[in-house]
Subunit: 278 residues, 2 copies
Protein backbone atom coordinates (compact mmCIF):
# COMPACT_ATOMS: atom_id res chain seq x y z
CA UNK A 1 0.00 0.00 0.00
CA UNK A 2 1.23 3.47 -0.85
CA UNK A 3 2.30 5.67 2.02
CA UNK A 4 -0.29 8.06 3.33
CA UNK A 5 -2.06 9.90 6.11
CA UNK A 6 -2.90 8.36 9.44
CA UNK A 7 -6.34 6.77 9.49
CA UNK A 8 -7.93 8.64 12.39
CA UNK A 9 -11.37 7.41 13.44
CA UNK A 10 -13.01 10.70 12.42
CA UNK A 11 -11.61 10.45 8.92
CA UNK A 12 -12.08 6.79 8.09
CA UNK A 13 -14.43 5.89 5.26
CA UNK A 14 -16.81 3.67 7.17
CA UNK A 15 -19.31 2.66 4.51
CA UNK A 16 -18.22 1.28 1.13
CA UNK A 17 -14.75 0.84 2.55
CA UNK A 18 -13.28 -0.11 -0.82
CA UNK A 19 -13.78 3.49 -1.93
CA UNK A 20 -11.53 4.79 0.87
CA UNK A 21 -8.08 6.10 -0.04
CA UNK A 22 -5.46 7.43 2.35
CA UNK A 23 -2.31 7.66 0.22
CA UNK A 24 -0.55 10.98 -0.27
CA UNK A 25 -0.69 10.92 -4.06
CA UNK A 26 -4.47 10.48 -4.36
CA UNK A 27 -5.21 13.06 -1.68
CA UNK A 28 -2.87 15.76 -2.99
CA UNK A 29 -3.96 15.28 -6.60
CA UNK A 30 -7.67 15.76 -5.78
CA UNK A 31 -6.90 18.96 -3.89
CA UNK A 32 -4.60 20.36 -6.58
CA UNK A 33 -7.12 19.48 -9.32
CA UNK A 34 -9.83 21.55 -7.58
CA UNK A 35 -9.40 25.31 -8.08
CA UNK A 36 -12.01 26.35 -5.49
CA UNK A 37 -11.81 24.50 -2.15
CA UNK A 38 -14.54 24.51 0.49
CA UNK A 39 -13.12 25.37 3.89
CA UNK A 40 -15.21 24.75 6.97
CA UNK A 41 -14.55 25.65 10.59
CA UNK A 42 -16.51 25.22 13.84
CA UNK A 43 -19.28 27.69 14.68
CA UNK A 44 -18.68 30.73 16.85
CA UNK A 45 -19.74 30.09 20.41
CA UNK A 46 -23.09 31.82 19.88
CA UNK A 47 -23.99 29.85 16.76
CA UNK A 48 -24.66 26.23 15.88
CA UNK A 49 -23.75 26.21 12.20
CA UNK A 50 -20.25 25.43 10.96
CA UNK A 51 -18.88 28.28 8.88
CA UNK A 52 -17.93 27.57 5.27
CA UNK A 53 -15.92 29.60 2.76
CA UNK A 54 -14.94 28.96 -0.87
CA UNK A 55 -11.19 29.62 -1.16
CA UNK A 56 -8.38 29.30 -3.68
CA UNK A 57 -5.58 27.02 -2.56
CA UNK A 58 -3.43 23.97 -3.18
CA UNK A 59 -0.92 21.66 -1.53
CA UNK A 60 2.63 22.77 -0.88
CA UNK A 61 5.84 21.83 0.86
CA UNK A 62 7.93 24.82 1.82
CA UNK A 63 11.66 24.50 2.18
CA UNK A 64 13.18 27.76 3.51
CA UNK A 65 16.58 26.86 2.06
CA UNK A 66 15.25 26.58 -1.47
CA UNK A 67 13.18 29.74 -1.62
CA UNK A 68 14.85 33.11 -2.14
CA UNK A 69 13.94 35.81 0.38
CA UNK A 70 13.52 38.33 -2.38
CA UNK A 71 12.85 38.25 -6.09
CA UNK A 72 14.32 40.88 -8.41
CA UNK A 73 12.22 42.24 -11.29
CA UNK A 74 12.74 40.05 -14.34
CA UNK A 75 10.96 40.90 -17.59
CA UNK A 76 8.06 38.46 -18.08
CA UNK A 77 9.15 38.37 -21.73
CA UNK A 78 12.50 36.82 -20.85
CA UNK A 79 11.09 33.40 -20.00
CA UNK A 80 10.75 30.73 -22.70
CA UNK A 81 7.33 30.47 -24.42
CA UNK A 82 6.98 26.90 -23.18
CA UNK A 83 7.18 26.22 -19.45
CA UNK A 84 9.39 23.32 -18.41
CA UNK A 85 9.36 23.56 -14.61
CA UNK A 86 9.15 20.00 -13.25
CA UNK A 87 5.90 19.19 -11.42
CA UNK A 88 6.10 18.90 -7.64
CA UNK A 89 6.20 15.35 -6.28
CA UNK A 90 2.81 14.77 -4.64
CA UNK A 91 3.37 11.16 -3.57
CA UNK A 92 6.44 11.02 -1.37
CA UNK A 93 5.22 12.52 1.89
CA UNK A 94 2.70 14.67 3.71
CA UNK A 95 2.17 18.20 2.44
CA UNK A 96 0.60 21.33 3.84
CA UNK A 97 -2.34 23.08 2.24
CA UNK A 98 -1.96 26.77 1.45
CA UNK A 99 -5.06 28.94 1.25
CA UNK A 100 -5.15 32.40 -0.15
CA UNK A 101 -7.52 35.22 0.50
CA UNK A 102 -7.85 38.89 1.17
CA UNK A 103 -6.12 39.92 4.40
CA UNK A 104 -9.35 41.57 5.55
CA UNK A 105 -11.39 38.35 5.48
CA UNK A 106 -12.30 36.91 8.84
CA UNK A 107 -9.94 33.92 8.76
CA UNK A 108 -6.90 36.16 8.41
CA UNK A 109 -7.82 38.49 11.21
CA UNK A 110 -7.16 35.87 13.89
CA UNK A 111 -4.19 36.32 16.21
CA UNK A 112 -0.91 35.21 14.63
CA UNK A 113 -0.37 32.31 16.99
CA UNK A 114 -3.90 30.94 16.78
CA UNK A 115 -4.30 27.52 15.23
CA UNK A 116 -7.77 27.28 13.69
CA UNK A 117 -9.16 23.77 13.23
CA UNK A 118 -10.38 23.62 9.62
CA UNK A 119 -11.90 20.96 7.41
CA UNK A 120 -11.25 21.23 3.68
CA UNK A 121 -13.27 19.47 1.00
CA UNK A 122 -12.46 19.03 -2.68
CA UNK A 123 -14.39 16.97 -5.22
CA UNK A 124 -13.81 16.27 -8.89
CA UNK A 125 -16.36 14.41 -11.00
CA UNK A 126 -15.50 11.90 -13.71
CA UNK A 127 -18.97 10.96 -14.90
CA UNK A 128 -22.61 10.10 -14.33
CA UNK A 129 -23.34 6.39 -13.98
CA UNK A 130 -26.80 5.24 -15.06
CA UNK A 131 -28.40 1.98 -13.99
CA UNK A 132 -31.75 0.32 -14.71
CA UNK A 133 -33.24 1.76 -11.53
CA UNK A 134 -32.70 5.26 -10.11
CA UNK A 135 -31.53 3.71 -6.84
CA UNK A 136 -28.34 2.43 -8.40
CA UNK A 137 -27.50 5.62 -10.31
CA UNK A 138 -24.25 7.14 -9.15
CA UNK A 139 -21.42 9.49 -10.01
CA UNK A 140 -17.83 8.59 -10.64
CA UNK A 141 -16.05 11.09 -8.44
CA UNK A 142 -12.97 11.67 -6.34
CA UNK A 143 -13.48 13.49 -3.09
CA UNK A 144 -10.96 14.51 -0.42
CA UNK A 145 -11.74 15.69 3.10
CA UNK A 146 -8.78 17.00 5.05
CA UNK A 147 -8.64 18.19 8.65
CA UNK A 148 -5.84 20.30 10.01
CA UNK A 149 -4.73 23.40 11.86
CA UNK A 150 -4.63 26.63 9.90
CA UNK A 151 -2.34 29.45 10.88
CA UNK A 152 -1.52 32.76 9.26
CA UNK A 153 1.82 32.68 7.41
CA UNK A 154 4.00 35.65 8.30
CA UNK A 155 7.37 34.72 6.79
CA UNK A 156 7.78 36.66 3.54
CA UNK A 157 9.64 33.86 1.79
CA UNK A 158 7.00 31.29 2.72
CA UNK A 159 4.23 33.64 1.57
CA UNK A 160 6.06 34.10 -1.72
CA UNK A 161 6.42 30.32 -2.09
CA UNK A 162 2.71 29.75 -1.36
CA UNK A 163 1.52 32.43 -3.78
CA UNK A 164 3.83 31.17 -6.54
CA UNK A 165 2.59 27.64 -6.00
CA UNK A 166 -1.12 28.66 -5.96
CA UNK A 167 -0.64 30.70 -9.16
CA UNK A 168 1.23 27.96 -11.02
CA UNK A 169 -1.19 25.29 -9.80
CA UNK A 170 -4.02 27.31 -11.34
CA UNK A 171 -2.16 28.10 -14.59
CA UNK A 172 1.07 26.17 -15.25
CA UNK A 173 4.03 28.50 -15.70
CA UNK A 174 2.06 31.68 -15.07
CA UNK A 175 4.02 33.18 -12.16
CA UNK A 176 7.25 33.81 -14.08
CA UNK A 177 5.33 34.99 -17.13
CA UNK A 178 3.45 37.75 -15.33
CA UNK A 179 4.59 40.85 -13.42
CA UNK A 180 6.88 40.15 -10.45
CA UNK A 181 7.93 40.63 -7.73
CA UNK A 182 4.77 41.60 -5.85
CA UNK A 183 4.57 45.13 -4.55
CA UNK A 184 4.57 45.83 -0.84
CA UNK A 185 0.88 46.77 -1.03
CA UNK A 186 0.03 43.51 -2.74
CA UNK A 187 1.85 41.48 -0.11
CA UNK A 188 0.15 43.39 2.70
CA UNK A 189 -3.33 42.96 1.28
CA UNK A 190 -2.96 39.23 0.65
CA UNK A 191 -3.48 36.71 3.40
CA UNK A 192 -1.93 33.25 3.30
CA UNK A 193 -2.92 30.38 5.58
CA UNK A 194 -0.88 27.22 6.02
CA UNK A 195 -2.92 24.18 7.05
CA UNK A 196 -0.96 21.40 8.74
CA UNK A 197 -2.85 18.23 7.96
CA UNK A 198 -3.85 16.15 10.97
CA UNK A 199 -6.05 13.56 9.30
CA UNK A 200 -7.36 13.05 5.82
CA UNK A 201 -9.35 10.65 3.74
CA UNK A 202 -10.49 10.40 0.16
CA UNK A 203 -13.34 8.56 -1.48
CA UNK A 204 -12.94 7.47 -5.07
CA UNK A 205 -15.84 5.92 -7.00
CA UNK A 206 -14.99 4.28 -10.32
CA UNK A 207 -16.60 1.70 -12.58
CA UNK A 208 -19.98 0.96 -14.00
CA UNK A 209 -23.54 0.68 -12.83
CA UNK A 210 -24.60 -2.41 -10.95
CA UNK A 211 -28.13 -3.73 -11.01
CA UNK A 212 -30.20 -6.35 -9.24
CA UNK A 213 -30.58 -9.77 -10.82
CA UNK A 214 -34.34 -9.35 -10.95
CA UNK A 215 -34.09 -6.21 -13.07
CA UNK A 216 -31.45 -7.74 -15.33
CA UNK A 217 -33.88 -10.56 -16.11
CA UNK A 218 -36.81 -8.23 -16.79
CA UNK A 219 -36.94 -7.82 -20.57
CA UNK A 220 -39.25 -4.82 -20.44
CA UNK A 221 -36.75 -3.02 -18.23
CA UNK A 222 -33.52 -4.13 -19.93
CA UNK A 223 -35.01 -3.54 -23.37
CA UNK A 224 -36.09 0.02 -22.58
CA UNK A 225 -33.63 1.55 -20.12
CA UNK A 226 -30.25 2.72 -21.41
CA UNK A 227 -27.46 1.97 -18.91
CA UNK A 228 -23.88 3.16 -18.88
CA UNK A 229 -21.75 6.23 -18.37
CA UNK A 230 -21.79 9.86 -19.34
CA UNK A 231 -18.19 11.07 -18.92
CA UNK A 232 -17.78 14.52 -17.34
CA UNK A 233 -14.82 16.78 -16.76
CA UNK A 234 -13.98 20.46 -16.38
CA UNK A 235 -13.48 21.79 -19.89
CA UNK A 236 -11.10 24.70 -20.51
CA UNK A 237 -12.15 26.66 -23.58
CA UNK A 238 -10.60 29.07 -26.04
CA UNK A 239 -8.96 32.07 -24.30
CA UNK A 240 -10.70 35.44 -24.69
CA UNK A 241 -8.44 38.51 -24.42
CA UNK A 242 -9.24 41.34 -21.98
CA UNK A 243 -10.05 44.83 -23.24
CA UNK A 244 -6.46 45.93 -22.49
CA UNK A 245 -4.58 42.86 -23.68
CA UNK A 246 -1.71 43.72 -26.02
CA UNK A 247 -0.20 40.26 -26.56
CA UNK A 248 -1.48 39.22 -29.96
CA UNK A 249 -1.45 35.45 -29.83
CA UNK A 250 -2.10 33.18 -26.87
CA UNK A 251 1.34 32.16 -25.51
CA UNK A 252 2.48 28.56 -25.93
CA UNK A 253 2.63 27.83 -22.16
CA UNK A 254 -1.08 28.67 -21.94
CA UNK A 255 -1.93 26.51 -24.95
CA UNK A 256 -0.05 23.61 -23.33
CA UNK A 257 -1.73 24.16 -19.98
CA UNK A 258 -5.23 24.17 -21.53
CA UNK A 259 -4.52 21.07 -23.67
CA UNK A 260 -3.08 19.31 -20.67
CA UNK A 261 -6.08 20.09 -18.43
CA UNK A 262 -8.52 18.84 -21.06
CA UNK A 263 -6.50 15.70 -21.75
CA UNK A 264 -6.19 14.94 -18.02
CA UNK A 265 -9.94 15.40 -17.49
CA UNK A 266 -10.90 13.28 -20.47
CA UNK A 267 -8.43 10.59 -19.43
CA UNK A 268 -9.68 10.47 -15.82
CA UNK A 269 -13.26 10.01 -17.06
CA UNK A 270 -12.14 7.23 -19.42
CA UNK A 271 -10.05 5.54 -16.71
CA UNK A 272 -13.05 5.47 -14.37
CA UNK A 273 -15.08 3.76 -17.11
CA UNK A 274 -12.29 1.30 -17.98
CA UNK A 275 -12.41 -0.09 -14.45
CA UNK A 276 -15.92 -1.41 -15.09
CA UNK A 277 -14.62 -3.71 -17.75
CA UNK A 278 -12.09 -5.65 -15.69
CA UNK B 1 -34.33 43.49 -5.73
CA UNK B 2 -35.50 39.92 -6.27
CA UNK B 3 -37.02 38.13 -3.29
CA UNK B 4 -34.67 35.98 -1.28
CA UNK B 5 -33.33 34.60 1.97
CA UNK B 6 -32.98 36.62 5.12
CA UNK B 7 -29.57 38.23 5.44
CA UNK B 8 -28.43 36.83 8.77
CA UNK B 9 -25.16 38.23 10.12
CA UNK B 10 -23.44 34.85 9.83
CA UNK B 11 -24.31 34.54 6.16
CA UNK B 12 -23.66 38.03 4.90
CA UNK B 13 -20.93 38.56 2.35
CA UNK B 14 -18.83 41.06 4.24
CA UNK B 15 -15.97 41.70 1.86
CA UNK B 16 -16.53 42.56 -1.80
CA UNK B 17 -20.16 43.14 -0.98
CA UNK B 18 -21.13 43.59 -4.64
CA UNK B 19 -20.50 39.87 -5.11
CA UNK B 20 -23.14 38.96 -2.52
CA UNK B 21 -26.45 37.50 -3.72
CA UNK B 22 -29.41 36.52 -1.57
CA UNK B 23 -32.22 35.94 -4.07
CA UNK B 24 -33.91 32.57 -4.33
CA UNK B 25 -33.22 32.06 -8.03
CA UNK B 26 -29.44 32.49 -7.83
CA UNK B 27 -29.12 30.35 -4.71
CA UNK B 28 -31.28 27.47 -5.95
CA UNK B 29 -29.67 27.42 -9.39
CA UNK B 30 -26.13 27.10 -7.98
CA UNK B 31 -27.20 24.20 -5.77
CA UNK B 32 -29.09 22.41 -8.54
CA UNK B 33 -26.20 22.90 -10.98
CA UNK B 34 -23.79 21.13 -8.58
CA UNK B 35 -24.18 17.35 -8.57
CA UNK B 36 -21.98 16.72 -5.50
CA UNK B 37 -22.65 19.04 -2.54
CA UNK B 38 -20.34 19.45 0.44
CA UNK B 39 -22.25 19.08 3.70
CA UNK B 40 -20.61 20.16 6.92
CA UNK B 41 -21.81 19.80 10.50
CA UNK B 42 -20.34 20.72 13.89
CA UNK B 43 -17.74 18.43 15.47
CA UNK B 44 -18.67 15.73 17.97
CA UNK B 45 -18.13 16.91 21.53
CA UNK B 46 -14.75 15.15 21.73
CA UNK B 47 -13.40 16.64 18.53
CA UNK B 48 -12.57 20.11 17.22
CA UNK B 49 -12.94 19.59 13.49
CA UNK B 50 -16.21 20.13 11.64
CA UNK B 51 -17.30 16.99 9.83
CA UNK B 52 -17.71 17.15 6.06
CA UNK B 53 -19.35 14.76 3.61
CA UNK B 54 -19.79 14.84 -0.17
CA UNK B 55 -23.47 14.11 -0.91
CA UNK B 56 -25.87 14.03 -3.84
CA UNK B 57 -28.78 16.43 -3.48
CA UNK B 58 -30.79 19.32 -4.86
CA UNK B 59 -33.48 21.82 -3.94
CA UNK B 60 -37.11 20.80 -3.67
CA UNK B 61 -40.52 21.94 -2.57
CA UNK B 62 -42.76 19.10 -1.49
CA UNK B 63 -46.51 19.44 -1.74
CA UNK B 64 -48.25 16.40 -0.17
CA UNK B 65 -51.39 17.03 -2.23
CA UNK B 66 -49.54 16.82 -5.52
CA UNK B 67 -47.52 13.67 -4.90
CA UNK B 68 -49.14 10.26 -5.15
CA UNK B 69 -48.62 7.98 -2.14
CA UNK B 70 -47.82 5.06 -4.42
CA UNK B 71 -46.63 4.62 -7.98
CA UNK B 72 -47.79 1.69 -10.09
CA UNK B 73 -45.30 -0.06 -12.41
CA UNK B 74 -45.34 1.65 -15.79
CA UNK B 75 -43.12 0.35 -18.56
CA UNK B 76 -40.15 2.71 -19.00
CA UNK B 77 -40.71 2.23 -22.72
CA UNK B 78 -44.13 3.87 -22.60
CA UNK B 79 -42.80 7.40 -22.05
CA UNK B 80 -42.05 9.64 -25.04
CA UNK B 81 -38.41 9.69 -26.23
CA UNK B 82 -38.20 13.39 -25.51
CA UNK B 83 -38.93 14.63 -22.00
CA UNK B 84 -41.23 17.61 -21.73
CA UNK B 85 -41.75 17.94 -17.97
CA UNK B 86 -41.71 21.67 -17.12
CA UNK B 87 -38.75 22.77 -14.99
CA UNK B 88 -39.51 23.59 -11.37
CA UNK B 89 -39.75 27.30 -10.57
CA UNK B 90 -36.63 28.15 -8.56
CA UNK B 91 -37.32 31.86 -8.12
CA UNK B 92 -40.66 32.31 -6.43
CA UNK B 93 -39.95 31.31 -2.85
CA UNK B 94 -37.75 29.47 -0.37
CA UNK B 95 -37.07 25.80 -1.03
CA UNK B 96 -35.76 22.93 1.05
CA UNK B 97 -32.65 20.99 0.15
CA UNK B 98 -32.95 17.24 -0.12
CA UNK B 99 -29.88 15.10 0.46
CA UNK B 100 -29.63 11.48 -0.42
CA UNK B 101 -27.39 8.80 1.01
CA UNK B 102 -27.20 5.27 2.26
CA UNK B 103 -29.40 4.71 5.31
CA UNK B 104 -26.40 3.27 7.15
CA UNK B 105 -24.33 6.45 6.91
CA UNK B 106 -23.92 8.41 10.10
CA UNK B 107 -26.19 11.33 9.26
CA UNK B 108 -29.18 9.03 8.82
CA UNK B 109 -28.69 7.16 12.05
CA UNK B 110 -29.69 10.14 14.17
CA UNK B 111 -32.97 10.01 16.08
CA UNK B 112 -35.96 10.83 13.89
CA UNK B 113 -36.81 14.03 15.67
CA UNK B 114 -33.28 15.39 15.78
CA UNK B 115 -32.63 18.54 13.82
CA UNK B 116 -28.99 18.58 12.76
CA UNK B 117 -27.48 22.00 12.01
CA UNK B 118 -25.76 21.61 8.64
CA UNK B 119 -23.91 23.94 6.30
CA UNK B 120 -24.01 23.12 2.60
CA UNK B 121 -21.60 24.48 0.01
CA UNK B 122 -21.87 24.38 -3.77
CA UNK B 123 -19.58 26.06 -6.28
CA UNK B 124 -19.61 26.20 -10.05
CA UNK B 125 -16.76 27.75 -12.02
CA UNK B 126 -17.19 29.85 -15.16
CA UNK B 127 -13.58 30.63 -15.94
CA UNK B 128 -10.05 31.61 -14.99
CA UNK B 129 -9.34 35.34 -15.08
CA UNK B 130 -5.75 36.35 -15.81
CA UNK B 131 -4.30 39.77 -15.02
CA UNK B 132 -0.88 41.34 -15.46
CA UNK B 133 0.13 40.41 -11.93
CA UNK B 134 -0.65 37.16 -10.09
CA UNK B 135 -2.26 39.16 -7.29
CA UNK B 136 -5.18 40.15 -9.47
CA UNK B 137 -5.75 36.71 -11.00
CA UNK B 138 -9.16 35.33 -10.12
CA UNK B 139 -11.85 32.84 -11.03
CA UNK B 140 -15.31 33.59 -12.32
CA UNK B 141 -17.40 31.43 -10.05
CA UNK B 142 -20.76 31.12 -8.35
CA UNK B 143 -20.76 29.79 -4.83
CA UNK B 144 -23.64 29.16 -2.44
CA UNK B 145 -23.39 28.53 1.29
CA UNK B 146 -26.61 27.47 2.97
CA UNK B 147 -27.29 26.84 6.65
CA UNK B 148 -30.27 24.91 7.88
CA UNK B 149 -31.67 22.11 9.98
CA UNK B 150 -31.53 18.62 8.51
CA UNK B 151 -33.96 15.96 9.56
CA UNK B 152 -34.59 12.44 8.33
CA UNK B 153 -37.62 12.21 6.02
CA UNK B 154 -39.94 9.38 7.01
CA UNK B 155 -43.06 10.04 4.89
CA UNK B 156 -42.99 7.66 1.93
CA UNK B 157 -44.55 10.13 -0.47
CA UNK B 158 -42.05 12.84 0.47
CA UNK B 159 -39.18 10.38 0.10
CA UNK B 160 -40.51 9.43 -3.33
CA UNK B 161 -40.76 13.11 -4.28
CA UNK B 162 -37.19 13.80 -3.13
CA UNK B 163 -35.69 10.81 -4.93
CA UNK B 164 -37.57 11.64 -8.15
CA UNK B 165 -36.37 15.22 -7.95
CA UNK B 166 -32.73 14.26 -7.23
CA UNK B 167 -32.76 11.77 -10.13
CA UNK B 168 -34.32 14.19 -12.62
CA UNK B 169 -32.07 17.03 -11.46
CA UNK B 170 -29.05 14.84 -12.26
CA UNK B 171 -30.43 13.56 -15.60
CA UNK B 172 -33.52 15.35 -16.99
CA UNK B 173 -36.41 12.93 -17.53
CA UNK B 174 -34.57 9.91 -16.15
CA UNK B 175 -36.97 8.84 -13.37
CA UNK B 176 -39.89 7.90 -15.64
CA UNK B 177 -37.54 6.29 -18.17
CA UNK B 178 -36.00 3.86 -15.71
CA UNK B 179 -37.45 1.06 -13.57
CA UNK B 180 -40.13 2.17 -11.09
CA UNK B 181 -41.56 2.08 -8.52
CA UNK B 182 -38.71 1.46 -6.07
CA UNK B 183 -38.74 -1.86 -4.24
CA UNK B 184 -39.28 -1.99 -0.51
CA UNK B 185 -35.62 -2.94 -0.01
CA UNK B 186 -34.50 0.05 -2.06
CA UNK B 187 -36.65 2.42 -0.04
CA UNK B 188 -35.40 0.96 3.26
CA UNK B 189 -31.74 1.21 2.30
CA UNK B 190 -31.99 4.80 1.08
CA UNK B 191 -31.81 7.72 3.46
CA UNK B 192 -33.30 11.10 2.63
CA UNK B 193 -32.63 14.28 4.58
CA UNK B 194 -34.67 17.46 4.26
CA UNK B 195 -32.79 20.62 5.11
CA UNK B 196 -34.94 23.60 6.08
CA UNK B 197 -32.92 26.64 5.13
CA UNK B 198 -32.33 29.16 7.92
CA UNK B 199 -29.88 31.48 6.23
CA UNK B 200 -28.10 31.48 2.92
CA UNK B 201 -25.80 33.57 0.82
CA UNK B 202 -24.14 33.31 -2.54
CA UNK B 203 -21.06 34.90 -4.01
CA UNK B 204 -20.92 35.47 -7.73
CA UNK B 205 -17.78 36.75 -9.44
CA UNK B 206 -18.12 37.85 -13.04
CA UNK B 207 -16.17 40.08 -15.38
CA UNK B 208 -12.62 40.66 -16.39
CA UNK B 209 -9.27 41.17 -14.78
CA UNK B 210 -8.44 44.51 -13.23
CA UNK B 211 -4.95 45.86 -12.97
CA UNK B 212 -3.14 48.73 -11.32
CA UNK B 213 -2.49 51.86 -13.32
CA UNK B 214 1.24 51.48 -12.82
CA UNK B 215 1.26 48.07 -14.48
CA UNK B 216 -1.00 49.22 -17.29
CA UNK B 217 1.55 51.93 -18.11
CA UNK B 218 4.52 49.56 -18.00
CA UNK B 219 5.23 48.60 -21.64
CA UNK B 220 7.45 45.69 -20.74
CA UNK B 221 4.63 44.19 -18.67
CA UNK B 222 1.69 45.00 -20.97
CA UNK B 223 3.68 43.93 -24.02
CA UNK B 224 4.59 40.55 -22.57
CA UNK B 225 1.78 39.37 -20.30
CA UNK B 226 -1.39 37.97 -21.89
CA UNK B 227 -4.51 39.05 -19.96
CA UNK B 228 -8.05 37.82 -20.27
CA UNK B 229 -10.28 34.85 -19.61
CA UNK B 230 -10.13 31.12 -20.06
CA UNK B 231 -13.77 29.94 -19.98
CA UNK B 232 -14.43 26.75 -17.99
CA UNK B 233 -17.48 24.56 -17.55
CA UNK B 234 -18.40 20.97 -16.76
CA UNK B 235 -18.39 19.14 -20.06
CA UNK B 236 -20.70 16.15 -20.60
CA UNK B 237 -19.22 13.76 -23.15
CA UNK B 238 -20.43 11.01 -25.45
CA UNK B 239 -22.34 8.29 -23.53
CA UNK B 240 -20.60 4.90 -23.18
CA UNK B 241 -22.91 1.89 -22.77
CA UNK B 242 -22.51 -0.54 -19.85
CA UNK B 243 -21.56 -4.17 -20.46
CA UNK B 244 -25.22 -5.18 -20.09
CA UNK B 245 -26.88 -2.33 -21.97
CA UNK B 246 -29.39 -3.56 -24.57
CA UNK B 247 -30.77 -0.22 -25.82
CA UNK B 248 -28.98 0.31 -29.11
CA UNK B 249 -28.99 4.05 -29.53
CA UNK B 250 -28.76 6.75 -26.89
CA UNK B 251 -32.34 7.92 -26.20
CA UNK B 252 -33.36 11.40 -27.30
CA UNK B 253 -34.06 12.68 -23.75
CA UNK B 254 -30.44 11.91 -22.88
CA UNK B 255 -29.13 13.60 -26.01
CA UNK B 256 -31.20 16.70 -25.14
CA UNK B 257 -30.02 16.67 -21.52
CA UNK B 258 -26.34 16.46 -22.53
CA UNK B 259 -26.71 19.20 -25.17
CA UNK B 260 -28.55 21.37 -22.71
CA UNK B 261 -25.92 20.96 -19.96
CA UNK B 262 -23.10 21.83 -22.37
CA UNK B 263 -24.97 24.82 -23.79
CA UNK B 264 -25.80 26.10 -20.29
CA UNK B 265 -22.16 25.75 -19.17
CA UNK B 266 -20.78 27.45 -22.26
CA UNK B 267 -23.36 30.22 -21.98
CA UNK B 268 -22.63 30.88 -18.30
CA UNK B 269 -18.91 31.19 -19.05
CA UNK B 270 -19.65 33.59 -21.93
CA UNK B 271 -22.09 35.62 -19.82
CA UNK B 272 -19.46 36.07 -17.10
CA UNK B 273 -17.05 37.39 -19.75
CA UNK B 274 -19.64 39.66 -21.37
CA UNK B 275 -20.01 41.54 -18.11
CA UNK B 276 -16.45 42.80 -18.43
CA UNK B 277 -17.28 44.67 -21.57
CA UNK B 278 -20.05 46.87 -20.23
Amino acid sequence: MAEGYEQHQRAIVKRLKDRGRYDYGTMHKIIDDTPVLHVSFPPDSDDEFSAMLPMLGCTGSFNPNETPKEQPYVSPGSFPEEDSTPEEDLTSGPRDIYLHGHAASRLFKRPEDERIPVTIAATTMQGIVLSLTPFHNSCNYASAVVMGYASVVTSESERLYALTRITDNLVTGRWDRSRNPPTKAEMTSTGVLRVEVVSASAKVRVGGPSDDRKDLKNEDVVGNVWTGFVPTYTFYGEPVPSSYNKVESVPQYMRSWIENENRKGEQAAADAIAQAKK
